[in-house]
Amino acid sequence: MRRRYLVDRSVRYLLFFSALISLFIVFMIGLFTLREAWPAFREIGLLSMLTNSEWRPGRDQFGLLAMIAGSVWAAIGSMILGVPLALAGAIFLAEVAPVWMRGIVRSSVELLAGIPSVVYGLFGMVVLLPVIRKIPVAGNTGFGILAASIVLAVMILPTITNIAEDAIRAVPREYKEGSLALGATHWQTIMGVTLPAARSGIVAAVILGVGRAVGETMAMIMVIGNSIVLPRPLNSNPLTLFLSQARTLTGNIAVEISYATGLHEDALFATGVVLFVLIMIINSSANLLIRERRR
């Protein structure tokens, strides 16, 4: 009898300990990153880092603007390509698809979600780059934001479709039935009632997808060119901005971290902090919207 309570007491401490260690690790990562980044913020200045477009560690230039622009444009491109498709797919799965079709599409989407990002990068290198290069614009190298956007769009499709589908399914049946009872067609119900009701969940899905796009590293290194340049249109057509080469924040960190020393290394941690904060803002707003919807 006493032994049982002894075991109970010791297990309680063991579990408390493992919780403590786990949480300690979780917070230590954040604190460590901040501590390493602090000298960079102090010496280079956050404003300078965010607005300077020159990143040349050899000349003590640590401007992240080009990389921020690269990450942002790649994410925007992936949204333009991926969001309409993903949302349509979500509506399809939730409202239109017959049961047999639903299984196929959902399994495909699940599989897409699990494929390693390097495989997408490989596909991009071997298939997308030569195709994009065919676009007859001077300065088009194939590498660049368009290739990155297509790769990212395929990668974030499953994330957005899954969560948006859940959101649409969660709309109470009565809403739909009420609308149909009033004489609206299925499509009018979807557009006028279901989607607006699922709005916050859908927005959350899109935001999470964007978060994933901004966080992708290896596939970006393979297809975006890694040029330290502010993306700009290649000729008078503003759309050719997507044919510009670029570098992402994530790619910047991955390629330079293993040799950076001193202020350069601190600057890379600062880049990590900027990325960290960006993603945290993106995820928090998504969580807030989901929680609001549940209430």
Binding site: G139, T141, G142, F143, I221, G225, Q245, Y259, T261
Partner: protein, 275 residues
Amino acid sequence: MRYAFVSTLLLASLLLAACGSPGDPAPGTGGEITVAGSTSVQPLAEVLSEAYMGAHPEIRITVQGGGSSVGVKSAAEGTVDIGTASRQVKDEELGEFPDLRVFTIARDGIAIVVHPDVAVDAVTKDQVKGIYEGSITMWSEVGGPSVPIIVVGREEGSGTRGAFGSLIMGDEEFAMVETAILQPSNGAVRTTVSTTPYSIGFVSFGYLDGSIKPLAIDGVEATVENALNGEYPVVRPLNMLTKGEPSGAVKGWLDFILSDDGQAIVADEGYIAAQ
């Protein structure tokens, strides 16, 4: 359930204990040598490691890349046993890491290479400088068709880039044209140039193969003979770096590399003896 929990903990501790045995000995002693750094040195280091391990089966040498600056930093911090670099060690680096010992094991040329379909076979040093500065942007300016030049280069941490900088651009820290595609290794430059029409790049001689075409510079072909007789202008040292004086297995391997046998292998692989 309790048993599953406990056994996972045991497994974890066992694994951590396994870390104790072969991994613990101080670098250089025991039978393990880790090498990291320049991708220019990498192929040569791999061949040299195979040769040495053949004669000394108790030694294990692992080689990886990352770039010359990774080699310098890893060696200086003791993260690896030997760091490799394809450039001179900078004064600032020696100042920051005074324990660094430098051993030049070979010399190597840097070839300016283009996609095999480019109809240009020779350029001048100034033309290369212009292309990489961004003042020359069309192949027509150097005798080719009227197509834009796609410039491929290396990351700032690359020794090859640094050496290319000092020998062709006149400045180790030169400003490359900002639209250049930057790659993290010699191999990546080679792959990019060989698959991207109208592209130009620079790689170590050790990476020349049929997939890319080397250009003659100022009339001198990019061959080992021309590098040997001093005519080819872009030649740099290949260095191995250790933290403090090497000892044990590391010293054994370095002695082998610098010996006649080792240098014979260097020559066989298409590099130039260290002298």
